[in-house]
């Protein structure tokens, strides 16, 4: 005995869609934006330069931070306005400036920047050790929230798919510190041994 074929094997649309009346009764606002041509992002491009609030054809150029400001080589010029959150500095700054020799289309650009991010972080951690406010991995990772906000109960028996990789997070945070400490201890032992000879 043959059964009724499923939807894609015949021409008709699925039959289990509720009627508009039923949906309107159940869902507040159902169909308020029914007309695809009457939605805020239709059409995608609407030419209306007068409607943005801008009272310039080209904005006045920001002066602060302009000198030496890095930019993508896919830009024809430095943009008139830009952020000044964390100007290039130190070793990480030199690495970043090197990365900006490559276009956004090159993996080298992004991978070198990620490398510079790590150098920046390690440098900041080391500098903090000789500052009045050294980095505190306990407070800065917010891990104390585990105790106050039901860390175990939030995971146990919940069939969460992220539990299988969350154990890697402490390794990512603490791993470089463990390696650096081990390296420092090893170096100190070598120096001490040589000094005894």
């Amino acid at each position: 005995m043959s059964t009724t074929p499923s939807t894609p094997y015949v021409a008709n649309k699925p039959k289990d869609i509720p009627s508009p009346e039923a949906l309107r009764a159940r869902i507040p606002g159902w169909g308020a934006d029914l007309d695809p041509k009457d939605r805020p992002s239709y059409p995608r491009e609407v030419y209306d330069p007068a409607g943005t609030g801008a009272h310039w054809d080209y904005p006045e150029e920001q002066q602060s931070g302009r000198e030496g400001r890095e930019r993508s080589i896919e830009h024809g010029q430095l943009t008139p306005v830009f952020g000044t959150s964390a100007p290039l500095h130190g070793v990480s700054g030199r690495i970043r400036r090197y990365a900006y020799r490559y276009s956004e289309g090159r993996a080298a650009h992004w991978l070198i920047l990620i490398g510079a991010d790590r150098v920046d972080a390690w440098g900041a951690h080391l500098r903090s050790l000789v500052s009045l406010r050294p980095d505190n991995p306990v407070t800065e990772t917010g891990v104390l929230a585990e105790g106050r906000l039901h860390g175990i109960a939030s995971r146990l028996g919940k069939r969460r798919a992220d539990v299988n990789h969350q154990w890697l997070d402490p390794v990512i945070v603490g791993g470089p510190w463990v390696v650096a400490t081990a390296g420092a201890v090893l170096a100190a032992r070598v120096v001490r041994r040589r000094a005894r000879r």
Partner: protein, 382 residues
Amino acid sequence: MRAMVYRGPYKIRVEEKPMPRIEHPNDAIIRVTTAAICGSDLHLYHGMMPDTRIGHTFGHEFIGVVEEVGPSVQNLKRGDRVMVPFNVYCGSCYFCARGLYSNCHNVNPNATAVGGIYGYSHTTGGYDGGQAEFVRVPFADVGPAIIPDWMDSEDAVLLTDALATGYFGAQLGDIVEGDTVVVFGAGPVGLYAAKSAWLMGAGRVIVVDHLEYRLEKARTFAHAETFNFAAYDDIVVEMKRTTDWLGADVVIDAVGAEADGNFLQQVTGTKLKLQGGSPIALNWAIDAARKGGTVSVVGAYGPIFSAVKFGDALNKGLTLRMNQTPVKRQWPRLFSHIQNGFLKPNDIVTHRIPLEDIAEGYHLFSAKLDNCIKTLVIADPS
């Protein structure tokens, strides 16, 4: 001033920073009253976004009070309560003139592929964000808007990104009456996208996630059918089964770079940073859509390559639509939907924390503790 600062992957703290200053005649300085932690902030927090520098302040969802304006600002004055779209944009470049505010070409020297975003690394321009007591807002005559008297402050901060992005994601799906819409991700953007799909006439809305408490919210807040992908061997087959083997007319990826569901993709994408994110949800979206269907992507991905199944997208004749949200274009209609009672944005807020506790706030959100869906940061408790 007090501000959240990045100290390296998984590490942030609050410290004293110099007050932001007027750097351009159309700048404003805003005293932040409420900010939010966005799912995409976690990509920065986890060290996935290239050119995220130590000392950078995150936060692209915020509202506040105008503290100071530059000499060319005409539309705002000191004391105005304003909501600020997450996009930094000039209003006059080739792209802004065409309504593509999120693709502005005049604000981000660091990259041409992405516009300017507050507190989102130097890859989006190097602007400090609003998880601080004060923030510099460029082009004050273009982006910010005065918060209407009738609007709840929490609704206002949610309009600066999450709600606008969910609504935009549903629009990108080109939903027509009776469509079956699948939303991957029951975070804030996914919940708002599911809710918005009904406004556009969807006949079925299905939300997929692995966090049961968020799926419960999808059922109550967004009236959606729900599937916990961790309960099935293959969620794509389940999506085919529930659509009578057709696939969904529209699928929305509201997860982005940190999707779960495949250990290898997770480790290479989010832990080792060898991809611009783990595109599990995007691949599921491509496979769960019907032939000729539309996949809308509003989950954020990094600029590096990701292992995406473009062959399936090609062979199925899919339409792939995506962008960062041009937030301000969405506001007039969303204001109306809120006033009409169709949307109640702050129903999804689960946690409100002081700025000083933001490190724990990030961990809470990242580790999905305490049934967290959306966390607001109260910079000014008064």
